[in-house]
């Protein structure tokens, strides 16, 4: 007789063994050199066996003991689903892979245009449906403990605390191995491998008990068959409705249960594994159910009336003194329960954290979807907390329900609840017209009806009083939960399934037909329904060198050959391998993605690597993200272009400025040499004549006077030159103070003529029209006079006509005044015209009276007065035009 202590020890040892298996598998997978068997169809098939929970391990026998062969429908449904793998499951798996789906809620929401409301709905449905199921597993573990405790009277056994510790242990396991990584492409190798090992254990355990019963107790197949026919379930008698209904329900649940979706779609590493699983998994189910009826019949035969048929698998070997077999059987049941709980908690936590916790967290932070790396940790933490939360829910449900017989019915109730997802799922995969509104309507209708007709009546008590069950709410008979619209006499389960799924499907279809989907929804619909045309063939994440090569080729295109090779070489070194290509480990892929995203943007990089590694197609969101990035890049490049144009303009301006500076510098040099030259000439004569006066003793008075006059004249010339230079520099530096006064133009001209003409040898004849000159001016009249004097004296000096004449013409055009000084000489030669306003520019050297600064000064003055002076060619002689503003002059005065 196995004592409870040994049982606990074996149990703990088994758990440690599972931890080691999961740990080793994770290590293998992380090293990239994942062993072949980790990715084999066998592991995939075995992981599907989490369909067989403790409810089926223990419960199937109890079910058979109560209702005969009906239990087999639970397995027939999944078998039929597997028969349709080529056009059914394969499509689901392909869609899941190409859309990088993380859960069934994610799949539904992603099909209907990423509707988070749908995802939340599915998540809530799943949590409500699966939590009692988890409680059921906990109960089965406790019950099996209790069986051993009864057999071992020395030990006191507290079922409550053991359930608590079991739940805690399972939560720790799920957290440790289920929340290692985030990306749906990175699979939970550890968990899946542990589940596969447990699948073997439970199959072996059940087969061992079955073989013991048939050949050990009954004495062969023939005897066993005879015993079956002689037993109370010896006649073929099933309820047709239940037979069909439960087969359908189990098929639906097989597809929609979150944990099944997790192992079947999310954890699928290669679509081709389905080909093997399609026959291997039904075979597994067949073997699991092969000995159920014999065990049930044997239990009914040899066990006392009071024995719980649910635990025959355990109690028969115990009663026959087969302690070892009982232990194995216990481990089988323990495996069934733990693997289900772990995967279910993982799957539910993914849904809860992705669709409920994370949206709330993101909203509370006020940041949109554009969040960076630090979210990874938040997501993982959310997932861990969700796992713990799901466990706590299951535990609370278990303690509240008291672990009684009410739990036994929960399996089918959970199936029916989860099956409400089926219309939206199947419609989404095969009907492009299915819309979000339709899915929401169908789900809500099905969910409410399921609650009303199935869950609440079964929970009973406060939630659904007996009176409501018997006479309907408020005494309305046709609303009785188990006989809606007066349809009485149906099996309650079938009644609930027909109503909830029927209305669900009807609403789904009607609302889909009536509503109009959003563009994203329509795109996703096409992607889902026509997935085989849109996605590449079945490509597993096989992590082969071929992939590394593809990655290398792509990276070279993007990064350039040298940089890509350096990067890959560094990765090879980091992995400690040889050759030139690294293993495509998750770490390497992540770094590569980061690197590529620097060149092409994060979304594009993710899509590219996903194409090569994940075998997933580019989803609409990917495209939108890429478009977003492209938009940003375009904007950025536009800004760059703008900046570059601005820079070009600035550069051109700088170039101009530089040229001007160079010119000015040249002018300055020329000017300095001019000035020194101009200063030197008079200086030379002053020095020469003063030396003569000093050194020659006998000079005649006349000579003395002449020399002194020359010195005086030259000194005067110097003074004039210096005055002019000073004047010019003051004007040029803009430090001149203008003395703006009002006056008449004629007066200024009168003064200028009067200043120049007297004293000349041959005064020039000045022709004026006094009626034009009666213009009032607001200007610096002295400076203006200076300009006029300069122009008139130039004419006086340089006009080479026989009868020199100077015509002064005044025109007023709008606000500007034009004063032309035109003489009748030869004028200025064309090549010198440009130069006349430059400093020290002298037209003819022979008549060099001044320093050549006069016109330069004139130009400066006129510019100060906001006017203009220029030479007028083609007037028949030397001609200058002075333009002056009339109005601005007045303005300046104010």
């Amino acid at each position: 007789m196995a004592s409870l202590n040994i049982l606990v020890a074996v149990c703990l040892g088994y758990v440690v063994f599972l931890f080691l298996v999961a740990f080793a598998a994770d290590r293998f997978a992380a090293r990239g050199a994942a062993a072949r068997w980790l990715r084999s169809p066998l592991v995939y098939t075995l992981s599907l066996s989490i369909y067989c929970t403790a409810w089926t391990f223990y419960g199937a026998v109890g079910y058979a003991a109560r209702s005969g062969l009906e239990f087999v429908t639970i397995y027939l449904g999944p078998t039929l689903v597997m028969m349709a793998w080529w056009w059914g499951l394969r499509k689901l798996v392909r869609v899941g892979r190409s859309q990088r789906v993380t859960s069934i809620a994610d799949l539904i929401s992603s099909r209907y245009g990423k509707s988070n409301m749908l995802a939340i709905g599915v998540t809530i449905l799943a949590v409500i449906g699966v939590t009692p199921y988890i409680a059921l597993q906990l109960q089965s573990i406790t019950l099996s403990f209790e069986i051993f405790a009864e057999a071992d009277p020395e030990q006191k056994y507290l079922s409550g605390s053991s359930v608590f510790w079991v739940a805690t242990g399972l939560a720790v396991f799920a957290i440790l191995f289920g929340t290692r990584n985030l990306d749906a492409n990175e699979r939970h190798h550890g968990v899946v491998t542990a589940v596969a090992v447990e699948a073997v254990v439970k199959l072996v355990a059940l087969l061992a008990v079955g073989i013991f019963v048939v050949w050990g107790l009954a004495g062969g197949v023939g005897e066993m068959m005879a015993r079956i026919d002689a037993s109370e379930i010896g006649e073929w008698h099933v309820d047709s409705g239940r037979w069909v209904g439960i087969t359908f329900l189990s098929a639906a649940a097989f597809l929609c249960l979150p944990r099944m979706f997790q192992v079947m779609v999310v954890e699928n590493v290669d679509e081709r594994h389905l080909r093997i699983a399609a026959w291997a998994f039904p075979l597994y189910l067949l073997l699991m159910s092969l000995f159920v009826v014999p065990i049930a019949v044997m239990g009914l035969d040899i066990m006392p009336e009071t024995a719980n048929p649910d635990l025959f698998v355990l109690t028969i070997p115990l009663s026959q003194g087969q302690g070892g077999l009982a232990m194995l059987s216990f481990l089988g049941g323990f495996s069934s329960a733990t693997s289900m709980v772990i995967v279910a908690a993982m799957a539910l936590s993914t849904m809860v954290s992705n669709h409920i916790v994370m949206p709330i967290w993101l909203r509370s932070r006020g940041s949109g979807a554009s969040v960076s790396g630090d979210v990874r940790n938040v997501v993982l933490m959310a997932r861990r907390i969700s796992i713990a939360g799901v466990m706590v829910l299951g535990y609370v449900y278990y303690t509240l329900s008291g672990g009684g017989a009410a739990l036994a019915a929960i399996g089918l109730i959970a199936f029916a609840g989860i099956a409400q997802i089926l219309p939206a799922l199947v419609g989404g995969l095969f009907w492009r017209g299915a819309t979000r509104v339709g899915a929401l309507a169908g789900l809500s209708a099905g969910f409410i009806l399921w609650l009303y007709t199935m869950l609440l009546p079964n929970l009973g008590g406060v939630l659904m009083p007996e009176t409501v069950l018997a006479y309907g709410p408020f005494g309305i008979g046709w609303l009785r939960p188990e006989a809606l619209f007066g349809i009485d006499g149906l099996d309650p389960t079938i009644h609930a399934v027909i109503w909830s799924l029927g209305l669900n499907t009807t609403m789904f279809c009607l609302f889909s037909l009536a509503s109009f989907p959003s563009p994203l929804e329509r795109l996703q619909g096409a992607q889902f329904v026509n997935v085989f045309e849109h996605s590449a063939g079945p490509r597993g994440w096989t992590g082969s060198f071929a992939q590394s090569e593809d990655l290398m080729i792509m990276s070279q295109r993007i990064l350039g050959a040298a940089e890509a090779q350096t990067f890959f070489q560094r990765e090879v070194t980091r992995q400690g391998g040889r050759g030139h290509l690294p293993e495509p480990t998750p770490g390497f892929l992540e770094r590569l993605e980061r690197k590529l995203s620097g060149s092409v943007g994060a979304a594009a990089a993710h899509a590219m690597i996903g194409q090569i590694v994940g075998g997933s197609s580019v989803s609409v969101e990917d495209l939108l993200a890429v478009a977003d990035e492209t938009q940003q890049m375009l904007e950025y490049s536009n800004r760059l272009e703008e900046q570059s144009a601005q820079l070009t303009r600035t550069a051109a301006q700088l170039r101009d400025a530089n040229e001007k500076l160079t010119q000015i510098s040249l002018q300055k040099d020329a000017f300095l040499s001019q000035v020194s030259h101009e200063l030197r000439t008079p200086m030379t004569s002053i020095r020469a004549f003063s030396e003569i006066l000093r050194d020659t003793d006998e000079l005649e008075a006349e000579d003395k006077t002449r020399y002194a006059t020359i010195i005086h004249d030259e000194a005067l010339r110097l003074t004039r030159l210096l005055d002019d230079l000073l004047d010019l520099s003051v004007l040029e530096s803009g430090q001149v103070n203008l003395n703006i006064r009002s006056g008449r133009l004629s007066e200024v001209l009168d003064r200028a003529v009067a200043t120049v003409l007297p004293g000349a040898d041959r005064p020039i004849r000045v022709i004026r029209r006094s009626e034009d000159e009666g213009v009032d001016l607001d200007s610096d009249l002295d400076r203006l006079g200076q300009v006029f004097i300069n122009l008139i004296s130039n004419a006086q000096k340089y006009c080479d006509a026989e009868q020199p004449e100077l015509r002064i013409q005044v025109h007023r055009i709008g606000d500007t005044l034009r004063i032309d000084f035109v003489d009748n000489g030869n004028g200025i030669p064309a090549d010198a015209q440009k130069m006349v306003f430059e400093k020290f520019a002298r037209v003819s050297s022979e008549k060099a009276g001044g320093a050549g600064l006069g016109l330069a000064i004139c130009r400066e003055i006129i510019q100060r007065l906001e006017g203009d002076i220029r030479y007028l060619p083609g007037e028949g002689g030397g001609a200058f035009r002075v333009t002056l503003p009339v109005a601005t002059g007045r303005m300046a005065a104010q």
């Binding site: 078998t79 073929w236 099933v238 087969t247 026959w279 067949l286 085989f532 096989t542 071929a546």
Partner: protein, 114 residues
């Protein structure tokens, strides 16, 4: 499930346009797809047959459970075998699907027309 052209890896309907007769390979592939659709229906019908016994059994006495067990498990095993055969057929006739990235499982007589 089948695409408008042969680019998908289903039956390859219309891979050649509107040809009257398909070559043997494409013909096989099409029949394979028919089998894929028929198989679950076939299985469901077989599992429904025991329900007929409920009616017929009333005259000749109730059908014993042992016979029902034998029938169900034999049908079950049969279906598994047929599905395994179908899997082999898929491997044989739908190379585009079976073909791995490394070309490891590629059969020597690869159909280039696909």
């Amino acid at each position: 499930m089948t695409g408008p052209d042969g680019s998908d890896d289903t039956a390859g309907h219309g891979a050649r346009g509107p040809a009257m007769f398909l070559e043997r390979r494409s013909y096989r592939r099409r029949r394979l797809m028919d089998a894929a659709k028929l198989l679950p229906i076939f299985g469901a019908v077989l599992f429904l047959i025991p329900l007929l016994w409920l009616i017929s059994g009333s005259e000749a006495g109730p059908v014993p459970t042992s016979r029902a067990i034998t029938y169900i498990f034999v049908v079950w095993a049969l279906l598994i075998a047929v599905n395994a055969l179908f899997g082999m057929g898929v491997k044989r006739w739908a190379e585009t699907w079976v073909k791995s990235d490394q070309g490891g499982e590629l059969s020597p007589d690869e159909d280039k027309s696909l």
